[in-house]
């Protein structure tokens, strides 16, 4: 499981019901929390046991310590599968754990089932332009899940048993690093791109930085994160951290709304594995429509305000962030 500022991140809860169903009625699910978590939160986790690593590694530490604890937990429980939240750090952690535990490894996984030997997994590759199915043939596997690919479950009827383990003391050479500053992503402007379940991105069709607020207002009405094409970040209308695509962020939300974005391959590479794609573009022939599920051919300057208004109407005012 992964936590942020002492609380489990929502994606952690996506791994547990999956672990439960893969473990079967006789199998055991052990959740590993990388630091103390509130009791009320622990009670919601559908695991048999939760192992809390105490104290939490300082922010900015390498994943070496977490990997050590996770391998220890896997060995103690004679695990056959370690599921990891597929965040940026989760994928790093997965690499270390698999190397240390000498297990099979796959990241960005959207499906997993028992294979004839070991596990069979499916994962999008080439930014969602293809899918790859792999057989991890050993008895042990580490699998990092793609965020939002699995549904979070409901709280268990009996809360998990909590156990505590001391965090390892590793030589500084192995852990390195220290944080000099920490800033929440885009403070106050909604969920971050990679974690969001809805993303609204704007492109050159917005024409200027001054118009970009139209995209942000739509995003706010949806509780969505805001992204941009490279045309926008190159022009400096928004910082590079907004960029979605081959040389920016990869996102795979439930819903991706592309506004005034033509659909260049380098942009598609970052968002093609979104579940539902909506495009709004004045050019009915724009390539973005070929990969979208729903399209509105029209002037964004007319459509966006109407859409924001309609969403506010059905949702009853600006809503809370939709990041689960």
């Amino acid at each position: 499981m992964e936590s942020s500022r002492g609380s489990l991140v929502a994606e952690s809860l996506e791994a547990l019901p999956l672990a439960r169903s893969l473990a079967g009625p006789s199998g055991e699910v052990l959740g590993v929390a990388p630091g103390p978590i509130p009791e009320a939160e622990a009670a919601r986790v559908p695991a048999d046991r939760i192992r809390v690593i105490d104290p939490a590694a300082p922010p900015g530490a390498s994943t070496a310590g977490a990997a050590f604890s996770l391998v220890e937990a896997a060995q103690d429980s004679n695990a056959s599968l370690v599921l990891v939240v597929g965040s940026a750090r989760g994928r790093e952690l997965a690499g270390r754990v698999a190397a240390r535990w000498d297990a099979g490894l796959a990241t960005g996984v959207t499906e997993i089932r028992p294979g004839t030997q070991g596990w069979t997994v499916v994962r999008p590759v080439f930014g969602g332009r293809a899918t790859q199915e792999l057989a991890l043939e050993g008895r042990k596997a580490v699998v990092a899940l793609r965020p939002h690919a699995f549904s979070p479950g409901s709280a268990p009827s009996t809360p998990p048993v909590i156990e505590h383990r001391a965090a390892p003391t590793l030589p500084p050479l192995a852990t390195g690093g220290g944080v000099s500053a920490e800033a929440p992503v885009e403070a106050g402007s909604g969920p971050s791109l990679a974690a969001a379940s809805i993303v609204v991105s704007g492109g050159r069709g917005l024409r200027s930085a001054e118009n970009f607020h139209l995209v942000e207002e739509l995003a706010r009405s949806l509780g969505a994160a805001v992204g941009a094409s490279r045309a926008v970040t190159d022009a400096g209308w928004r910082p590079a951290s907004y960029q979605v695509g081959q040389t920016g962020q990869s996102v795979s939300p439930q819903l991706y709304v592309a506004v005034g974005i033509s659909g260049a391959i380098q942009h598609l590479t970052g968002m093609m594995s979104s579940r539902v794609i909506v495009a709004i573009n004045s050019d009915a022939q724009a390539p973005i429509f070929r990969v979208s599920d729903y399209g509105i051919a029209g002037d964004l300057f007319a459509i966006l305000p109407a859409l924001t208004e309609e969403i506010r109407r059905v949702r009853g005012g600006p809503s809370a962030p939709a990041s689960r």
């Binding site: 942020s4 922010p59 390498s62 994943t63 070496a64 990997a67 994928r91 790093e92 952690l93 690499g95 270390r96 190397a99 000498d102 099979g104 490894l105 069979t120 590759v125 080439f126 930014g127 969602g128 293809a130 899918t131 790859q132 199915e133 792999l134 057989a135 991890l136 990092a144 050479l173 192995a174 852990t175 390195g176 690093g177 944080v179 000099s180 500053a181 800033a183 929440p184 971050s192 791109l193 974690a195 809805i198 590079a240 040389t247 819903l255 590479t269 539902v276 495009a279 009915a284 990969v291 599920d293 729903y294 399209g295 509105i296 029209g298 305000p305 109407a306 859409l307 309609e310 059905v314």
Partner: protein, 264 residues
């Protein structure tokens, strides 16, 4: 400073992807393998660090089928990298990030380095777990999703930002470190003709396949086998919403997203 950059040959962005005859892998016929994506940024970042810290040397290391890895190494040499090492990949391990990392760590450990650089993920399969696995084998700390990577010669530390999902960290770390780069300070440069010509003749150190095969034989593992490589069902193209006014378009879209797609 000594920098080692890990680069993977990947199909160029415009490649038309299709499965091979067996249906298990990407069909490599006619595909051009290039230095691209985050790995290209990693090379750019290494060159920028070299420009800011005189005396720096850069070695690029690439694992893959020989022709492909030497192609990307020549591209890196043409950009200004000093040395290159190609590691010939044995068959059957391309999809196993742990064995890939084991081979890279084995080769990298021959060199001295204060910085190990790679893209935060590759431009093809994008696993994003090889840098940290290499770091685990070498016993060095690793940091992914890194931007603004700088060397502070007075403090003797690297400083950088790590853009995670919910937070951006400013981190300082003493050498040696493994960095998975998200973005260099600027867009990757393009090679100049004289350098391209020179790179064609530059020496490349080769790690023969027998050597890495012997390594893997000492660490046998169950296979990671490719079962299928599929293209998503061709998206039929958007269902275009017909509307009489912007408000009408908005109402129809919201209804479709709520009732049909069920994403609102």
């Amino acid at each position: 400073m000594e920098i080692v950059v890990l680069i993977k040959p990947v199909p160029e962005a415009e490649t038309r992807l299709r499965p091979d005859r067996g249906g298990a892998e990407l069909d490599p016929a006619g595909v051009k393998f290039v230095l691209a994506g985050y790995d290209e940024s990693a090379v750019e970042q290494a060159l920028l660090l070299k420009e800011s810290a005189p005396g720096t040397t850069i070695r690029a290391v690439s694992l893959g089928p020989l022709a492909r890895s030497e192609e990307v190494l020549r591209a890196a040499l043409a950009l200004g990298v000093d040395h290159a090492t190609s590691v010939e990949e044995p068959p059957g391990v391309a999809h196993d990030p742990v064995q890939v990392a084991r081979m890279l760590a084995f080769v990298v450990s021959r060199y001295s380095y204060s910085l190990l650089l790679g893209g935060k993920q590759s431009g093809d399969e994008g696993s994003g777990c090889v840098p940290s696995a290499v770091a685990e084998f070498l016993g060095v700390p690793d940091f992914g999703s890194v931007t603004d990577l700088k060397w502070d010669p007075i403090a003797g530390r690297f400083t950088f930002r790590q853009s995670l999902e919910r937070t951006v960290l400013s981190v300082e770390a003493p050498p040696p470190v493994m960095i998975g780069l998200q973005q260099a300070w600027n867009d990757p440069r393009t090679a100049k003709l004289p350098m391209i010509l020179r790179s064609r003749k530059a020496p490349i150190d080769r790690v023969p396949r027998a050597e890495v095969e012997a390594l893997l034989a000492r660490h046998p593992r169950p296979a990671v086998r490719a079962v299928s490589f599929r293209l998503p069902p061709p998206r039929m193209g958007a269902r275009m919403i017909e509307y009489s006014s912007p408000q009408d378009a908005a109402r129809k879209l919201v209804r479709l997203l709520t009732e049909e797609a069920k994403v609102l």
